[in-house]
């Protein structure tokens, strides 16, 4: 994830005109990758570790969006996936493994909103991990030290203030977890991040 650069979006659609349009909607904010089919999309994910969000056309020649999604999940890629579909999904997107969906034809605003929302929940998962890591550090510093020593310890007080800031950020996000698909997508982001670390390590 390259937050400072806005993140990387992989656009997958067999219709080049659609890909071009989405690129125009997004490329001022995000780094764009393109694939004109399911296999090409998976190749792109293999080649490029930076992809954060996949916009995946549901109906394509070759492997369908659904099949590509299944491969993405099985292989444990740490990406958020929005399905792009010509019709309102008549199925439970939570159950199918998509993180969000976009209905064709989409607007610039809708597409940008969807990508931003997926990157935010990705960030939420990163923030929770970071929060955990800071709490572990603070707990380690506390061990064997008196309250006075801790208050005098600059590293500890800095840590406490970072913990406090992060906690406020996480609390601000909590209300949005009531949305089922966002809640599940956040858990999936937690799941896949760990899977990849396990695979790397």
């Amino acid at each position: 994830m390259t937050a400072s650069e806005g993140g990387t979006v992989l656009i997958v659609d067999d219709d080049r005109e659609v890909v071009r349009t989405y690129r125009r909607y997004l490329d001022e904010t995000y780094t764009i990758r393109e694939a004109y089919g399911g296999e090409a999309a998976l190749d792109e994910l293999d080649d490029d570790d930076d992809v954060d969000v996949v916009l995946l056309d549901r109906l394509m020649p070759g492997p369908s969006g659904r099949e590509v999604l299944d491969r993405i999940r099985e292989d444990g890629y740490d990406v958020r996936v929005a399905m792009v579909t010509a019709i309102d999904p008549d199925f439970d997107i939570v159950d199918m493994g998509f993180d969000d969906y976009v209905t064709k034809p989409t607007t610039r605003d809708e597409l940008r909103r969807t990508v931003a929302s997926l990157l935010e929940l990705d960030q939420h998962a990163v923030d929770v991990r970071q929060y955990h890591s800071l709490l572990v550090k603070a707990a380690a510093l506390r061990e064997g030290k008196s309250t006075y020593e801790l208050d005098e310890n600059r590293a500890y007080t800095d840590l406490e203030s970072r913990i406090s800031d992060l906690e406020a950020t996480l609390d601000d996000e909590a209300e949005r977890l009531v949305d089922d698909s966002r809640f599940v997508a956040t858990l999936r982001a937690i799941d896949t991040a760990a899977t990849r670390e396990d695979a790397d390590g």
Partner: protein, 286 residues
């Protein structure tokens, strides 16, 4: 959701605890901590379905006890195993028949599926305004996923139920984990109920709520069958909001968070240095 006045009422606890803690705010998350065979499962069940209290909808997520054991535990408390008001997310991996009240997940390692099963359970109960979620147990979860993933999962789940105004009750056996992990995971919760054994007698203390002294209190094993006389007398509670003049402040466990919403039922310990609202860090009780 959860706009102050529209919040659901408090969650009564009746006589589930031997201390003067009669109710909890909507959105509260409680950790029940005790060694194995200390009766913490019973206590979790008591907090989810207290004696003589109108039953709230309940979801129990289990990585530990098979559904049958949970079912028996609740039937003993007079709770009907009815899918409109009671559901189990069973992630033990134990085989079982398809039942409307049971959502099976193949392994606690699949955090996403556990989340999906929870949302399905809540949706199929009609997304009630009130709900008590039990989670047994954090210790078993730790056998399947690393500490970071377990923490993240518990954080996200507890914040989700909190935002919905639900009550969450989670159990842990602290003797099976490093102190550091227990301290860190405790910081997810608003209150910790600790159980310990001393010379064969059981004691309990509550940390977190401002108006409950964090003193070890006898908690006999036989209390459910004990006569009313042997139980500590309860005084009726009329918690005036803003009344914070309490004799002995109750220090939270290291890192216990304070409730983020304005307390409807209780006053909560301010933890200096954690909440951004507190300007100057003051000594942490250790």
């Amino acid at each position: 959701m959860a706009e102050g006045d529209a919040r659901a009422d408090c969650y009564p606890l009746a006589d589930a605890l031997p201390v003067d803690l009669a109710d909890l705010d909507p959105g509260t998350n409680v950790l029940v901590s005790g060694p194995s065979m200390s009766g913490k499962r019973q206590l979790v069940f008591d907090l989810l379905a207290p004696n003589g209290v109108t039953a709230d909808p309940v979801v129990v997520m289990t990585t530990d006890d098979p559904t049958s054991r949970i079912q028996t535990g609740f039937e003993d408390r007079g709770v009907r195993f009815d899918p409109t008001t009671f559901r189990v997310v069973d992630a033990t991996g134990a085989p079982g028949d398809s039942e409307p009240a049971v959502h099976r997940v193949s392994s606690p390692a699949d955090l996403t599926r556990m989340g999906v099963a929870f949302t399905q359970a809540v949706d199929e109960m009609g997304t009630p305004d009130r709900l008590r979620l039990g989670f047994v147990s954090i210790s078993t979860l730790l056998q399947y996923v690393d500490a970071e993933r377990a923490f993240s999962f518990l954080h996200v789940l507890s914040r989700r139920t909190s935002a919905a105004g639900y009550l969450g009750v989670y159990s842990i056996d602290p003797t099976t984990h490093e102190d550091r992990f227990v301290n860190v995971v405790t910081s997810i919760f608003d209150a910790a109920i600790e159980i310990r054994e001393r010379d064969g007698d059981r004691e309990l203390r509550v940390r977190g709520p401002l108006d409950v002294p964090p003193e070890w209190t006898p908690f006999p094993y036989s209390r459910r069958t004990a006569s009313a006389d042997t139980l500590p007398r309860r005084r009726s509670r009329a918690t005036a909001s803003g009344s914070r003049s309490v004799g002995s402040p109750n220090p939270p466990p290291p890192g216990v968070r304070t409730l983020t919403t304005s307390p409807a039922c209780r006053s909560w310990v301010d933890l200096p240095g954690i909440r951004s609202a507190s300007a100057s860090p003051s000594p942490r009780v250790k």
